[in-house]
Amino acid sequence: MLLKYAFIFILSGFALVLPLVSIVAGAILGPRKPDPVKNDIYESGLNTIGDTWIQFRAQFYLIGLVFLVFDLEVVFLYPIAMAYGRPEFGMAAVLVTLLFMALLIVGLVYDWRKGGLEWQ
């Protein structure tokens, strides 16, 4: 098994080097004549006003929150789905799983009712 992951390990090294080499090659081959106007950031051709890192609403955070909860549901559901191959997997196990899923659906519905999923 470790041999398979050794392959992924080597590939990950390669996958880092390939874009790095391309970018360095681009930096070497391309011209380099920076000037303030060129390096200025482009915001629809207007001069940039104020600080870039203005504050954002918590909407994005709420989406991330629901995602986190469902991601954990997935982590538990995948092994349970695999366990269907076992002959002794019965109705009791299914009920346990369905109850687990129902709890999370309640969370989603709560968020929905509270407007956490509305995009204002």
Binding site: M1, V69, V75, Y78, P79, L103, K114
Partner: protein, 178 residues
């Protein structure tokens, strides 16, 4: 050529990979807590979490490794980055200063590490003789799922309840009140 006084062992590929992963993880986690820029801390945290996933792979717990990447790198690190962006005024320079107990805490943490490392080295661990895993990795995942719905059915429901409560609480806390 003179003989070396200590024979340097040549690591097996498995050991060599472990050393690489361990050093990377250790350095990344050290940078998480010493970096003065909070955003860089978060990036280093992602690196450290990846390293821990690599450690799980070396321990042949592949489902746990993929869980680590899925939950920690995919969700938790992203949420932390969001929170960093949501809560700061100016992002340049020192955004993550230390408090006045820094040196005391540093020496304490060092002491804890040395103590634990020393103890770990001296304890005669009851390590199994034969370390090969029985069955393939697939049967392990199947067993994990089976454990979740039988032995650990109650903890599973409790986790579901905990997540529900966490979601409700966090939504109430973080919502924009207009």
């Amino acid at each position: 050529m003179p003989e070396l006084p200590v024979e340097i062992p040549i690591p097996t590929p498995h050991q060599a990979v472990f050393i690489m992963v361990a050093v990377a993880t250790g350095v990344a986690s050290l940078l998480v807590v010493t970096n003065r820029n909070l955003f860089y801390s978060a990036l280093c945290l992602v690196g450290a979490l990846f390293g821990v996933a690599g450690v799980y792979v070396l321990l042949e717990a592949e489902f746990l490794a993929i869980t680590q990447v899925l939950v920690y790198v995919g969700a938790i690190a992203t949420l932390i980055t969001f929170a960093i962006m949501l809560t700061r005024g100016i992002m340049f320079g020192v955004t993550s200063p230390n408090n006045r107990y820094m040196f005391a805490v540093m020496s304490m943490a060092l002491l804890v590490f040395l103590l634990v490392a020393g103890v770990v080295d001296r304890v005669p661990w009851a390590v199994a003789e034969d370390l090969t895993l029985s069955g393939d990795g697939k049967s392990m995942i199947v067993d994990l799922g089976w454990e979740f719905v039988t032995t650990y059915a109650l903890p599973l429901e409790l986790i579901g309840l905990l997540l529900l409560i966490a979601l409700v609480g966090a939504v109430m806390l973080a919502r924009d009140d207009e």
